[in-house]
Amino acid sequence: MTALQVALSGASKHYGQHQALGPVDLELRAGECVALAGHNGAGKSTLIKLVLGLIRPTHGRVQLLGHDADSRQAARLRHNIGYLPETVALHPAMTGAETLDFYARLKRQPLARNAALLERVGIADAAQRRVGGYSKGMRQRLALAQALLGRPRILLLDEPTTGLDPASRLMFYDLVRELRDAGATVLISTHALAEIANHVDRVIVMTHGHKIADGTLAQLRQTIGVPLRIKLTLSHPVPAGTLPAPWQQVSPARFERACPEAAKVEAVRGIGAIGLPIADIDIHTPSLDEIYAHLLERKTP
């Protein structure tokens, strides 16, 4: 087991009567890239703010690098953190380079490395231009560059790929992988789980302030048990009722059935026994979005 970087134990946050989060238990370790998925208002941003020590938990504990997140000791360790807020308004009259210089000074990082960082996120050409003239994607890249200052040990990224085009997204995931391989802990909050799933080691799903799932993709698939769909195409049309239930005829030559993950092999074997000319077999594993929708459906009160 690698070092524990972030730990929440029974942490909750109330605003008056409204419960924004929890109680939530959560552990993030070094060299781990975790997706924090959930709809808007699921408590993702509250969780990130708790980890940053911007707000105090109403109950429970939030620890960052071994200290309470809102303590002075944790505040001193903040140079180890990179944070990309969901919405960030960078000053429009400052240039990209000036913006990064400002944040580098606050993090006590040498300014000499900033040029390379701007190069890495792909806005070196625009470094001397005012941020006001940047596109949304460029602003997001600049905001990402600020989060990467000083090679942070913990990266908290709130909806990082919003406004990025597909090429930029690939650049972004490359960067994340590189940081994770170097031992950083990366937490990415998102409401588009499908996009991010292949780039993370673990997925945490939240709804209404509660953690409803936490595990690798394979674990999620198994525990949730969203059935597979087997699609069968025959080489010629057959009359209705040729194949018994659970098969459903969707067109004269096409049939479909749902099948639990565990019974997959058995079901495929059964197809051989049908005794009809088969043109094609397609096994459709549930997409992440389907799993996600299933999860939310199951847990929504």
Partner: protein, 276 residues
């Protein structure tokens, strides 16, 4: 300390870039110049230096304008940064909350001081040049006017910061800021005048009046300018008040510094506890 200076530097640069400083300096210079030029006609008869006349008219104008400018700078300082998401980002850095609020305040103060000094200073120089022959004696009240204006601005900046840390919405902050401005620069004096007229000197003794004047930063400013120098108080017709009031320049300056320190310390304390 480094973080404070970094934040101060950014505020100053923002102020210069978005032309806040330029616009404010131009506004103040234009007002000072036009008052100086329009007000120069009576100077021949009373033998008062044109710069002195300008101090009198300018202080009456600055009393409205400088607090308003300060409030406009300050009301958004904290609540606006929370709204834009920049404060959460700033506080994710190894920076403490007091460093953020002190840094921002110093930056705004520098902007205000720069604009006031540049605006009034330029106008003062232009007036001296137009009327020929520099009169060093007339420069002292003018310099005092600039210093007093910056102090006045600072006290309203501090009050504005307090408002900005207490509320949750920018619009609320703007509304309260305007109301507070109106209270101190208009309503307070009118109420005081009404009180004096109704009381006929029975319970409002000079000592009580002094205290009441010290409870308003804009009255402190008025007294600093109008009673600070004999020449000015003669011209402004404040000679009576000036000689009666036991408030020396040092007392007035100290009171004004308290008007800066107390609201600012309260603002910093509230900010320390504020949930983002």
């Amino acid at each position: 300390m480094n973080a404070v200076l970094t934040i101060t530097g950014k505020e100053i640069r923002d102020g210069l870039r978005n032309r806040w400083v330029l616009a404010t300096a131009l506004l103040l210079a234009t007002l000072a110049l036009s008052l100086g030029l329009l007000g120069s006609s009576p100077t021949g008869a009373v033998k008062v230096d044109p710069l002195t006349v300008t101090v009198v008219s300018l202080s009456s104008l600055s009393i409205f304008l400088v607090p308003l400018i300060a409030m406009l700078l300050a009301y958004d300082a904290i609540v606006g940064e929370i709204d834009r998401g920049t404060l959460a980002l700033l506080l994710s850095y190894p920076v403490s909350r007091w460093q953020v609020i002190v840094g921002k305040f110093l930056g705004h103060l520098a902007i205000l001081a720069l604009a006031t000094t540049a605006g009034y200073g330029f106008a003062g120089l232009a007036l001296q040049w137009l009327h020929g022959g520099a009169n060093p004696a007339a420069w002292r009240p003018f310099a005092l006017l600039i210093v007093a204006s910056v102090l006045l601005g600072a006290s309203f900046l501090a009050i504005g910061y307090l408002i900005s840390t207490l509320v949750r919405e920018r619009a609320t902050a703007a509304g309260i800021a305007i109301a507070v401005w109106l209270f101190f620069v208009v309503i307070y004096d009118m109420a005081l005048l009404g009180l004096l007229a109704a009381d006929q000197g029975r319970s409002v003794t000079p000592a009580v009046l002094d205290t009441l004047l010290l409870l308003n930063p804009s009255d402190i400013y008025r007294l600093m300018n109008l009673t600070g120098f004999e020449n000015i108080s003669m011209y402004a017709g404040m000679a009576g008040v000036g000689s009666q009031a036991s408030l020396g320049l040092a007392t007035l300056a100290l009171a004004q510094l308290l008007w800066i320190a107390i609201p600012f310390v309260l603002a910093a304390a509230c900010f320390q506890r504020k949930s983002l």
